[in-house]
Symmetry: none
Subunit: 232 residues, 2 copies
């Protein structure tokens, strides 16, 4: 039943919030059918205008896809937008420095938490990525993609969606920055070794090792990019 919404302001916002909750609670997947407008009207006890406005909010967030005559469905990649923070604003050199500094702040702690919270599935996923590294040809583009995947997978181990969503944004922005940077001899090999060390630490539940190895890895990355990070 409807659980009457008393306040008479921002009803669409509240309705949109509950719609998101419904999606999460029912574990709806991309492509799944969404309740029709008339169903939502009787579910929420608000008018069609309000429901429609709430739906439009979800559309703006790329959470649902409305198709005229058919119905509404969960979007393919709910909530995903590119360069969401609008980071391509300042000069590349400073941006790269800022990005690496940010990684130096959050990633060691992410690795620490990952060690404590990783599920068996998480660890398996990490192992696959590390294996991909080893057998991978020396293609720079692919290497960076897998590198981002690795760090994102570590973030996923924390079971913290905020970190898990934020980290790829940082990594991909760095990728953009590197795009015009020289590849340092041996950097890929050093990165691979670091990743193996981090993976082993997570697998064997050694949080302090994971943290320090991650810190070392990022400092090494900065060094390869001819940048220096301080202020720890």
């Amino acid at each position: 039943m409807n659980e009457l919404i008393s306040v008479q302001r921002e009803l669409p916002r509240i309705a949109a919030k509950r719609l998101r909750e419904i999606i999460v609670d029912n574990n709806m997947q991309p492509g799944d059918r969404f309740p029709s407008e008339s169903e939502l009207i009787s579910m929420f006890g608000v008018s069609r205008s309000t429901i429609r406005e709430a739906m439009k909010l979800l559309v703006a967030e790329n959470i649902v896809d409305i198709q005229r005559g058919k119905g509404t469905f969960i979007a393919a990649q709910p909530g995903v937008v590119k360069d969401p923070l609008g980071l391509h604003f300042s000069d590349q050199q400073k941006l790269l420095q800022n990005l690496l500094e940010t990684r130096l702040i959050i990633e060691p702690q992410i690795a620490y938490l990952a060690t404590q919270r990783a599920t068996q599935e998480n660890i398996k996923a990490l192992e696959h990525i590390v294996q991909d590294f080893k057998v991978m040809p020396d293609l720079r583009a692919q290497h960076i993609t897998v590198d981002i995947n690795f760090h994102t997978a570590v973030a996923q181990c924390t079971q913290n969606d905020v970190l898990h969503r934020f980290l790829p944004v940082i990594c991909e922005s760095i990728h953009e920055g590197y795009y015009e940077t020289v590849t340092i001899e041996g950097s890929q090999q050093r990165a691979l070794e670091c990743h193996i060390n981090i993976f082993e630490a997570i697998k064997n539940r050694l949080p302090e090792i994971a943290r320090s190895e991650t810190e070392k890895h990022i400092l090494q990355t900065a060094k390869d990019a001819k940048l220096t990070l301080g202020g720890k």
Copy 2:
């Protein structure tokens, strides 16, 4: 005149496009008044529903700011979107926990860096915000806004634009989460004291104090929200 729109689909999108053009053509600045709904109805020759939906599109892009009873105005920072990471697409309780955990990871270090890098202008800005706190009435909405401003201003002290852009996203998402949460007695007072301590530490260049005070502040915030953060 109205230039009759023949197609009967996506009228709001078309109207929104023309509204954007109007803003650009007339060189409208942030704060400028926007035509009222009834004016737009006669300008475009479409119904109020359509106009309203078009306006909501502009709101989603943070181009205009609609104020009930007053009117519609050009937004302060047109185009800077809210919730860019799509964090609302998640379980509220868990999201709040994740957000606070993220703050616990980055903010103490932000305060540390702020202490080392803050300019005199940064410190002045912080001081103004702290003063605003003291003389502020007990209005919850205003309090939260100034709270976000304070933490964002601290992030600005780091001279790291990535942190400076990321932190408000986190803070505002927490604000959203609190929207339907009970206000804890005395939490505002405790927050004010913490902010003063942090400000003093930054002003007097005491990085360790700034870090520990920030950590304490966030843990207190979590406690007020009846959440426990661990894993340090």
